[in-house]
């Protein structure tokens, strides 16, 4: 039996629309920061270095900062729209209110795929890292990675199932440790504390810094996204923060600032210690460059710290992905874009429990059965489609609801410049992706076209058309 009266009107998360059990509003700006940075920071620990392989050290730095501009635009746009549309689902809910149902359905799918694939990729990485720890501690056999992959997913799913506060507090702690590890490595190697170990001058000699010229910079853009991919996930916490107007912009903008610092420090440390040919080969060369940089220092405490940092960053990312994918899936179910059964909230833990449970076998199937590079490519491409939607969404938002028509928690400056910059950088990145992963890009677009046709001709008849728009907004301008 229930331990409390779940129909009580005094409980938070319940209100005039008839919600008897809603998501729990318990989070603050630090949790929003932990969600955004937690998902992304693994990209600093591994993955970004493929950009060095594509174009050399300077290409990776240019890609890092160009992608930094792209994601600063994403963070500003998201902060404004989400502090106004403060509901779970993030960009899906934004699209539903601002663009229309078909766009919303597609954006919802982008989100679920991007996060579920990234979760699977993180679980694969966690299994690999544990096998490396076994090898480093003298284990001579070949460790079976599967139980550790499965454990990573099930433990984090259990945590998410039990409640959002514990989930994101856990993320806050492990993300803070992983970020601090990067700062300590920088202080220890750059000459701030003790002598400098940096060899930039020697390692950048001749063509090493930009071996393939400007085409290499373009090719590096694809992997430049890794430094920041996922910061937009902060919006999924919108329905669970105590003060959306304050916590979402604060947490998101603090998050992108943290990542800009972490990305630049990571590039500086790794390119100053590791030759670019080894650093740029993320498969057979430097799989975890920050960890490799720590090993090159010869300091055992730094090796342990960066090893722990790598594992924590991986788990924080998987944890945030479960949180975000389940909120997006839950929102699609709540609006009947998918079966309404998924729109259930746990009466005790106040989490979207059925969505969390449903996505577990899907993540396990990808983690145990699909190659890592394909999983990551599908995740990035889904994310990129989402970023392309954002500037269009922002321009329509300002046009339909001008500044004085709705109260916004945050108003981003220089509109429409960030939207135009974001759209331009998305176009450049699509071209870069097409050069390297043209087949996957076309396959993915075909998949979303088929899904859109299914939604338009079949699923839309089940959508509760009036009930899905519950924000007390004025009519859009011109309607």
């Amino acid at each position: 039996m229930a331990e409390f009266d779940i129909t009580s009107k005094t409980r938070d998360g319940m209100g005039p629309h008839g919600t008897q059990v809603g998501l729990l509003r318990v989070l603050g700006p630090a949790h929003v920061w932990a969600l955004g940075v937690g998902i992304v920071l693994v990209g600093e620990y591994m993955g970004w270095n493929f950009a060095v392989g594509k174009g050399g050290a300077y290409a990776a730095l240019i890609a890092c900062w160009l992608a930094g501009i792209l994601y600063t635009c994403v963070a500003m746009i998201d902060s404004e729209v989400t502090s106004t549309v403060a509901a779970a689902g993030g960009q899906y809910t934004q699209a539903k209110h601002i663009v229309g149902p078909l766009m919303a359905f597609n954006v919802g799918l982008y989100l679920v795929f991007a996060y579920t694939m990234l979760e699977a990729a993180n679980a694969i990485t966690a299994g690999y890292l544990i096998s490396q720890v076994a090898a480093l501690t003298g284990y001579e056999g070949e460790l079976n990675q599967k139980p550790f992959i499965v454990l990573s997913i099930l433990f984090l799913a259990w945590l998410n199932y039990r409640g959002v506060l514990a989930t994101l507090t856990f993320n806050l702690v492990i993300t803070a440790i992983a970020f601090t590890a990067i700062i300590i490595l920088f202080l220890s190697t750059s000459g701030v504390l003790g002598g400098s170990m940096m060899q930039h001058k020697a390692l950048f000699e001749g063509a090493a810094a930009l071996p393939y010229g400007w085409i290499g910079v373009l090719a590096a853009m694809h992997f430049g996204l890794w430094y920041y991919l996922g910061i937009e996930g902060t919006t999924q916490a919108a329905e669970e923060v105590r003060s959306p107007a304050r916590a979402l912009p604060f947490g998101t903008l603090a998050g992108i600032m943290t990542l800009l610092i972490a990305a630049t420090l990571t590039w500086y440390i790794c390119t100053g210690l590791i030759p670019w040919e080894f650093l740029g080969d993320g498969t057979n060369g430097s799989v975890a460059p920050l960890f490799d940089a720590a090993r090159l220092t010869g300091s055992q405490p730094l090796v342990v710290l960066l090893g722990v940092g790598t594992l924590f960053a991986t788990l924080a990312s998987a944890n945030g992905c479960i949180n975000d994918a389940s909120r997006a899936w839950f929102s699609l179910g709540r609006d009947k874009y998918l079966p309404g059964w998924f729109g259930a909230v746990h009466p005790k833990y106040r989490t979207p429990y059925r969505s969390i449970v449903f996505l577990v076998p899907i993540a396990l199937a990808f983690a145990l059965g699909a190659p890592l590079d394909q999983v990551i490519t599908f995740s990035i491409l889904s994310g990129l489609l989402g970023y392309t939607f954002m500037p269009i969404n922002m321009i329509l938002f300002r046009r339909k609801w001008p500044m004085d028509s709705i109260k916004r928690g945050y108003e981003h400056p220089f509109h429409p410049l960030p939207s135009i910059v974001l759209l331009t950088l998305c176009a450049v990145t699509f071209f870069a992706v097409f050069l390297g992963y043209g087949t996957q890009l076309v396959a993915m677009i075909v998949f979303y076209i088929v899904a859109s046709l299914w939604f338009h001709f079949w699923r839309y008849r089940f959508v509760a058309r009036a009930a899905q728009f519950t924000m007390p907004w004025p009519r859009p301008k011109g309607y």
């Binding site: 008839g18 509901a87 284990y139 550790f148 709540r334 577990v360 007390p472």
Partner: protein, 55 residues
């Protein structure tokens, strides 16, 4: 049996515990509560409450 072999079994065991916890609680919750209550969540409740207070 080496330490890492034991860790493999421990990981399988813990995975089973977490998985079973989730599935048992899920089935228990679905059986205990009315579907209408479980799926009663609507977006925009906070905004609606603020609107009511000011309206």
């Amino acid at each position: 049996m080496s330490f890492w072999n034991l860790m493999e079994y421990a990981a399988w065991g813990l995975s089973a515990v977490f998985g079973l916890y989730i599935v048992i609680d899920w089935l228990k919750t679905d059986a205990t509560y009315d579907e209408e209550v479980l799926t009663s969540s609507r977006e925009g409740e906070l905004e609606a409450m603020v609107e009511e207070r000011h309206g």
